[in-house]
């Protein structure tokens, strides 16, 4: 199997765009004083995975955002998943 074009040819520009979007998002939450939101705290920590030498960076980031507990919770608060697990006391 050989890609029609090098993967970089197909992927660089949209992912350059995505990277600038992330940078702009970080600027924006900083400007609006939302860096302490637990989701953003987890987001900032997740960025460390991007520069690692792991060959499973997508999996590592998904693991990073995941609830590490193993038992079912007592009941639902009827809220949707937020995208980033936080220790209960951190949830706003």
């Amino acid at each position: 199997m050989k890609a029609e074009f090098p993967i970089t040819e197909h992927g660089f520009m949209p992912n350059r765009y995505n990277l600038v979007e992330i940078a702009a998002y970080l600027d924006r939450i900083q400007r609006h004083g939302e860096l302490e939101d637990p989701r953003n705290v987890a987001f900032l920590k997740a960025l460390n995975h991007l520069s690692s030498m792991s060959t499973e960076k997508a999996k590592d980031i998904l693991d990073h955002f995941s609830d590490p507990s193993t038992d079912p919770i007592l009941s639902s608060d009827n809220k949707p998943a937020s995208g980033a697990w936080s220790k209960p006391e951190q949830i706003q």
Binding site: M1, L62, S66, T70, I73, S76
Partner: protein, 266 residues
């Protein structure tokens, strides 16, 4: 190009979507029962929904010569109310023999609560007792990994579950391997923001192999794309996958799984 859309919530879609799907080569569409975007207040709401899935929607699809199949259950989001869940499960036998019903689904977990888990166990048991295939919804986002493990524990602890007749849907990079390692089918859902992109879906195929895996769009009332599967086929083509491999993923694999129910005919 020919493809099967094994997971689409067509009751939430316009007729234009049916036209677009058949134009793109869709050979069959399958519709699991799901959360309608609001909680139904009684079993009667589910009764009407099951009528819609077994009578009205197949006829709507038939106008476009598109075979329509469905799966029945109470979804995880509304499974917090155990009494309601018991009532809904009690009416499923009335519909299970309908020509287009393929099995029980999409059952699973939403926020990984005790009640959701209880109702999931009840529906797995129901499916086994009625010799039905199972389609499983895994939770969203941060709840997915934990929920997938809880789901696998229930399945592995049930003596009558046949993994070859169970598809665990919405897998991502952190859950696909645990599903495939135990012999279950894996569904990759192409859905904006909360699930998988086209490029990541092809990565999953390249890394985890082509066996026992299907792609689906799970289009519903949210921002979603009923043509996500054929568009991912184009991504595969760009990556250098040949026509046979693409056909295997978007047509032959779902056909192989779904044909385990003799009602599924193309």
């Amino acid at each position: 190009m020919r493809y099967i859309e094994p997971h689409a919530h067509m009751v939430s879609r316009t007729t234009d979507d049916y036209q677009a799907m058949i134009t793109a080569g869709c050979a069959a569409v399958c519709e699991p029962s799901f959360w309608a975007g609001f909680d139904r207040t009684s079993v009667q709401g589910f009764y009407d929904y099951f009528l819609q899935l077994t009578q009205y929607e197949p006829n709507r699809a038939k106008k476009f010569q598109l075979p329509h199949y469905s799966w029945l259950c109470i979804n995880a989001k509304e499974a917090e109310d155990i009494k309601l869940a018991e009532e809904v499960i009690s009416i499923i036998p009335e519909f299970i023999e309908a020509d287009n019903v393929l099995g029980i689904g999409e059952i699973g977990l939403n926020r990984n609560t005790k009640n959701e888990l209880t109702v999931f166990e009840m529906q797995v048991d129901f499916a086994c007792k009625h010799n039905q295939m199972i389609l499983i919804h895994t939770p969203h986002l941060e709840d997915k990994k934990k929920g997938t493990k809880l789901i696998l524990d229930v399945l592995e602890n049930h003596s009558q579950v046949d993994p070859s007749k169970v598809i665990i849907d919405h897998v991502e990079e952190h859950t696909i391997q645990m599903v495939k390692d135990l012999g279950y089918w894996a569904g990759v859902t192409l859905y904006p923001d909360s699930k998988c992109s086209k490029a990541r879906a092809v990565d999953l195929l390249e890394v985890n192999g082509l066996d026992n895996i299907w792609l689906n769009c799970a289009c519903d009332w949210g921002v979603s794309d009923p043509l996500a599967v054929p568009k991912t086929a184009i991504e595969m083509k760009h990556r250098g996958h040949n026509d046979e491999t693409i056909d295997r993923i978007i047509f032959q694999n779902p056909n192989q799984f779904l044909s385990q129910n003799p009602k599924f005919k193309l």
